[in-house]
């Protein structure tokens, strides 16, 4: 009996080996433990969903997809080790993932070194211009520009920014400044807080004294999320809060008791509550697979869409060969999915998409204020004169460099 079992196992493994030789390998780098596991978990699940669906529909170029997904533990050095492992040992065809900007910048040089196609499916501070990197998440052109336009029009010109003192916070704050000036507002105050700050009394007092019409909050990480509770404990005025990450990314409206996210606006291409047929369908399919996940955030849609765009490009190129796929992507492939129609914009390697202004009231009820259709992320091309289809500098532009 035992021998039979072993025999069966061996045969199964041989089949497995044969099948493995003829698969397209997708490498994914996400955080399943540590500070960033909050988003890393649902991003991983969204990728597993995408791969399952492609495989069930017959795979890609007649081959099944195989996912290789180590845990990067919210550790940049781990990202580097695992990126090398995926490229050199597992010989994957594409790498997807990465959450924090630091993790992306840690592995981007490795992708360039080995000529590996890389999808960064996440909201970020914008500006990456790299031959091998495609950014399918929302960037400041999608998020900050519409948000500031809307907020200044609705509430008034005085804007106060409080941001995490690292790259995402600094660069997004520069964008807020740029947008505020463009739409006729003024910055009445700006403060950058170290990531380890957990007590906000003095910042809250300064905000009150500046008396802004709009408060832009760009705080990140679990330590800094103590801000909202302290804000409502010390502040009796109902200043509206604008942000690019809360609710849609970190589902603070579910994690904290009201009124932590009261009167808060965020721009996103997708949230779980989004009331379109495609979004509802996506959430239902996701929930069927992972019923216990606390939230399906905007990066889940970005990750899923990123994978689908890759699949589209491979079909178009007829191969997984990296340069051919890049050519296909640059020619502008699109995918109509949970976040509506998303199209790669060739010259900047970013994505054209719809953006919603999402609002949370005092009871954390989500509603949708406005939709901005098909925003083209062409800032690198227009202002920095960089066309990736012609030449790639492989750097990250910032508003002031």
């Amino acid at each position: 009996m035992k021998k039979l079992l072993v025999l069966v196992l061996v045969v199964l493994m041989m089949f497995g080996a044969v099948a493995a030789a003829d698969t397209i390998k997708i490498g994914m780098l996400e955080d399943l433990s540590g500070d960033f596991s909050l988003c890393g978990t649902y991003k991983s699940h969204a990728m597993e969903l995408a791969i399952k669906e492609i495989n069930e529909a017959g795979g890609l170029l007649g081959k099944q997809l195989e996912l290789i997904a180590p845990d990067c533990q919210s550790d940049n050095q781990r990202y580097q080790e695992m990126a090398r492992k995926l490229i050199l040992e597992d010989e994957v065809d594409v790498i997807m993932g990465g959450f924090s900007s630091a993790s992306r910048e840690a592995i981007r040089p490795i992708m360039d070194e080995y000529g590996m196609l890389y999808f960064y499916n996440n909201q970020y501070e914008g500006g990456v211009a790299d031959h091998y990197t495609f950014c399918t998440g929302a960037v400041p052109e999608h998020q900050v520009m519409p948000l500031m336009e809307y907020m200044i029009k609705e509430y008034g010109p005085k804007v106060y920014t409080i941001a995490a003192d690292y790259n995402f916070g600094q660069l997004t704050a520069q964008w807020v400044k740029k947008a505020t000036q463009e739409f006729g507002g003024e910055i009445v105050g700006e403060e950058f807080l170290p990531l380890s700050v957990s007590q906000f009394s003095s910042s809250i007092e300064k905000i009150q004294q500046a008396d802004p019409d709009v408060l832009v909050v760009l705080l990140t990480g679990v330590t800094q999320s103590s801000f909202y509770g302290q804000w409502f404990a010390a502040n009796s005025k109902n200043i509206p809060i604008a942000t690019t990450i809360n609710i849609a990314q970190g589902y603070e409206h579910l994690r904290f008791d009201p009124p932590a996210c009261a009167n808060m606006y965020v721009t996103a291409q997708f949230v779980e509550e989004l009331d379109t047929p495609a979004a509802k369908d996506f959430v239902a399919r996701y929930r069927a697979l992972y019923p216990n996940d606390p939230y399906v955030g905007m990066e889940a849609a970005a990750q899923y869409t990123g994978m689908m765009l890759y699949a589209e490009a491979v079909r178009k190129a007829g191969t997984t060969e990296v340069e051919a796929v890049i050519d296909a992507l640059e020619s502008g492939v699109s995918y109509d999915g949970p976040a509506g129609l998303v199209t790669i914009y060739g010259p900047t390697h970013h994505a054209i998409m719809d953006i919603w202004i999402v609002y949370s009231d005092a009871n954390h009820q989500i509603s949708f204020k406005t939709k901005y259709e098909q925003i083209v992320p062409d800032w690198i091309e227009k202002e920095k004169g960089c066309d990736l289809t012609v030449e790639a500098p492989n750097i990250q532009f910032t508003p002031d460099n």
């Binding site: 596991s37 380890s196 957990s198 007590q199 003095s202 679990v222 509770g229 302290q230 994690r255």
Partner: protein, 289 residues
């Protein structure tokens, strides 16, 4: 003007509450408890879970402090009591405990717990609103210092503990059970850490890593304060509170944080025994005159 007072009281109470448990253990036993931040985190978790189960908040806070004290007692019996005479090894061991607690809570209870809302509302001074709860915290910090003064100066425990602190061998020879004193000290220190976590729990996001925010500042306060848990805590809480609140208001939170760390490095060079060393040597001089 009130703004400076408020910010000072806010920094002062944070530092005093965060450090008291650590400084009692350090002053008495010469042991630096690197799991101090995690003890604070446990206090916050215990308080939050009880308060969510509709235990009244003040009771939940006291119970959480007692629970963490009990936990500290167990940790002392299992680990720390074996390391009384190996202070550096105790640093490494308590670090191991801190890693175990942090990751253990992450696995058991997930990356964050739904928090409470801060109780008590706000009051207005000159057009700016302030949190009442934070002023209550400042009051509690002052009461805690007074209690500690009473405990050390007017009780039998205080007498024995001061004797143990000055010279444990002599104290032992005079009939003080020093091992028991150490165990009791570690328990009280843990309970104070738990109290700090329970008090700040309603103002923060409850996460396994939240203790770090307290731990770093409390180390700085201990360095500046020195070995005497009473004089050191009161003095360094005041001085650092002034420095931090002034820097926070005038230059921003980043400078407030850096200011603390830099003051610590300077103090340790100029006054290796901290403020309590300074005060003690001053008192000695007066006595000898």
């Amino acid at each position: 003007m009130f703004s400076y007072l408020y910010q000072f009281l806010d920094s002062f109470s944070f530092l005093v509450l965060a450090v008291s448990g650590l400084s009692i253990i350090f002053g008495m036993m010469g042991i630096i408890n690197l799991a101090h931040g995690e003890f604070i985190m446990l206090g916050a978790y215990a308080m939050t879970i009880m308060a969510k189960a509709s235990v009244p908040l003040p009771l939940a806070i006291i119970l959480a402090a007692l629970l963490v004290g009990l936990f500290g007692f167990v940790v002392d019996k299992l680990v720390v009591c074996r390391l009384y005479d190996r202070p550096v090894d105790s640093v490494v061991a308590t670090w191991g405990i801190s890693l175990l607690l942090r990751q253990g809570i992450l696995i058991l209870l997930g990356p964050s717990l739904p928090g409470l809302t801060t109780p008590m509302g706000t009051f207005m001074v000159g057009g700016t609103s302030y949190s009442i709860y934070r002023m209550v915290l400042a009051l509690i910090a002052v009461v805690l210092l007074v209690l500690m003064y009473w405990l050390f100066m007017h009780t039998r425990f205080g007498l024995h503990s001061r004797a143990t602190m000055q010279n444990s061998a002599t104290a032992q020879a005079m009939g003080v059970n020093t091992a028991q004193m150490y165990s009791l000290t570690f328990t009280i220190g843990s309970a104070l850490a738990g109290l700090c976590g329970a008090l700040y729990g309603p103002t923060m996001t409850i996460t396994p890593t939240m203790g770090q925010a307290f731990q770093n500042d409390s180390f700085v306060t201990v360095i500046v304060g020195g070995a005497n848990p009473l004089i050191g805590t009161a003095l360094s809480g005041t001085v650092l509170g002034v420095i931090q609140s002034v820097l926070n208001i005038t230059m921003g939170t980043f400078f407030g944080k850096m200011g603390l760390l830099i003051v610590a490095i300077i103090v340790i060079r100029v006054l290796p025994k901290g403020f309590s060393g300074l005060v003690e040597s001053y008192m000695m001089k007066r006595k000898n005159r």
